[in-house]
């Protein structure tokens, strides 16, 4: 995978919202990248800034009150932060697409499904109505909705939740985008439907070679779809690495906590679910040190004073944690230990 081209590179991204109480720093210096054909998962609790990060890439955060304070979003060699609204129009839907969390509210209730797919095609690919419609039927078929010719003539309320999310995927992939951002695409769905949607996304990725950014709070969801995982906490990335790194050799106590709070079905594993106590900090006034310190079993005085620098574990795996410091005591890694 090493020699693949970079598709997206986010550098030192800061996003803030101005509210009545003051500035809420939702994203505070985030770096990550996505290669072509790769799936990157961004994982974290609600409010950790993962959705804001995703929407910033599309520049879909409401501005004002939101604003990108600092940083760059390099997509295909161009910095999207500097793009005007007009320029963004030719990126959205054509180069980068997005699927949202709630398929019940994400489709226009008064427009036929087919038309909603056709819109982007007509705009970006200069298709005629007829061509666009044929392509829309093709797309509906591709995402596994039976009776496509009939379905394009229907309205969203005639679709079930899972079908709507399939339709959303059809809309998003209609123009063959290079990058698909899926913002909690399965959270609002039944568990059985969740698996179907994930399988569909994986299959389509193989077929169309699209890169995917998958935003989720559920590590279970990303396990068999993501190549790499970025863990976010309180507007910062605290650990990132390949899927294997994160699942089998995590280094940050927060990641440990996340993994321990995911129910597992393998019989060998009899360990109890361990909740992460407490709440993430309010980003209205983020703490100066490590934001996780207050909830961390391994917190040290230094954690409350200084934010830990990046430590490279391996080429793709890095973490922000004082436990990596040479002066820090050696602690048992509960994930690695637990597996033995």
């Amino acid at each position: 995978m090493e020699n693949r081209d970079r598709l997206l590179e986010v550098k030192d991204l800061h996003v803030s919202f101005d509210t009545y109480a003051g500035e809420v720093k939702a994203v505070r210096g985030v770096d990550f990248h996505v290669d072509k054909g790769e799936t990157l998962a961004i994982v974290g609790e609600s409010g950790c800034g993962k959705s804001v990060t995703a929407q910033s890439i599309m520049k879909l955060i409401p501005m004002p009150p939101g604003r990108i304070k600092k940083g760059s979003i390099i997509f295909d060699g161009k910095d999207l932060v500097k793009f005007t609204d007009k320029q963004m129009e030719s990126v959205r839907g054509r180069e980068i697409s997005m699927i949202f969390q709630d398929p019940m509210t994400s489709l226009n209730p008064t427009m036929k499904i087919g038309k909603q797919i056709m819109e982007g095609l007509i705009k970006h690919q200069n298709m005629t109505k007829k061509e666009a419609k044929e392509r829309a039927i093709e797309m509906i078929k591709l995402v596994g909705i039976p009776n496509p010719a009939k379905r394009v003539e229907q309205y969203p309320h005639e679709f079930s939740g899972g079908m709507r999310q399939r339709a959303m995927i059809a809309i998003a992939l209609a123009c063959n985008p290079k990058l698909l951002i899926a913002d909690e695409p399965t959270t609002a769905l039944d568990v059985t439907i969740q698996a179907q949607i994930l399988d569909l996304m994986k299959e389509l990725q193989n077929r169309l070679n699209t890169s995917i950014i998958m935003i989720t709070h559920d590590l279970g969801v990303v396990a068999n779809i993501a190549h790499r995982i970025v863990v976010m906490y309180a507007g910062k990335i605290i650990e990132s690495g390949t899927s294997d790194d994160i699942f089998f050799n995590p280094q940050h106590p927060y990641t440990w906590g996340l993994l321990q709070s995911v129910p597992r079905l393998d019989a060998a594993n009899k360990e109890k679910l361990v909740p992460i106590l407490g709440q993430p900090p309010d980003l209205f006034k983020p703490p100066v040190g490590c934001p996780f310190a207050a909830r961390c079993d391994y917190a040290m005085p230094v954690c409350k004073e200084y934010y830990p620098e990046k430590t490279q574990i391996s080429e793709k795996h890095h973490v922000h944690c004082w436990l990596q410091h040479e002066m820090a005591p050696k602690v048992k890694n509960p994930i690695v230990e637990g597996r033995r």
């Binding site: 009545y20 993430p280 309010d282 207050a294 961390c296 079993d297 391994y298 004073e305 002066m327 005591p329």
Partner: protein
Amino acid sequence: MAQVQLNKDMFKIVGKDVEKSQELVRPSLTYWQDAWRRLKENKLAILSIVMLALLLILSVVGPYMRPYSYDEQDFMSINKPPSAEHWFGTDALGRDIFVRCWMGARVSLFIGFMTAILNFTIGVIYGGVSGYLGGNVDIVMMRIIDIIFSIPQMLWVILLMVVIGQGLHTIIIAFAISGWGGMARLVRGQVLQLKEMEFVLAAKTLGADSWRIITRHLIPNSMGPIIISITFAVPGAIFSEAFLSYIGLGLPLPLASWGTLASDGSKVLLIHPYQLFFPSLLISITMLAFNLLGDGLRDALDPRLRK
């Protein structure tokens, strides 16, 4: 993030401090505190409260500020424009318009507030019963409302006024009979919605009885929209009264309301425009104040807008 002053002591594990993580950085506000904060921020709403207070005070003291009574006719000074003696001028019978305007304010505000209170009472009872009982009772009760209130209130008021005769009390009765539909619908909607909510269910599982659920949960939670609706009901009634007086179905003489004053004034508009000007101005200011206040309250009390 300067890597200075790191020493061994700083690398001792002390563990988590859950309490601290749950410390609230933002000031926490109750529903009413937050509503009040929002309302205070709305300068127009505050200005409206001041205006309404001023109007209320003037309606009490206004008539005593000048040495005339509201029905005192003075044929020596008929249709006099505003002057030092008659601040708002005089009408066709030589009556002082300033005094009449504030007497009118009493009548108009009385009608407004009484109507709002009566509509509120009937509406809350009818809507509350309908929503709380639900089922077929609810369907029938709502169908009745749908039918009766598909005809504009004004037509009912006019009919009722024709039937029961003109007068201050009959106006209020007519408004009360014909105006509670909106409130009943609102209350019923609130009750239905709240009845289904988890916290009411939670209260039920904890063994709270119906009375407690109604007084502690339903009423406080539906107060917001109801207060807003009342705020709009007051000017609505004042407006309707003015309308009725204007078409000759309002108060009998020599009683004055802003409506009758405006009606009288409009007859001589082209010759003595000031006679319409003052009562209209007062109606408009009152309406404006109530509407702005209502808007402010809506913004302040609507929990969906809380962030």
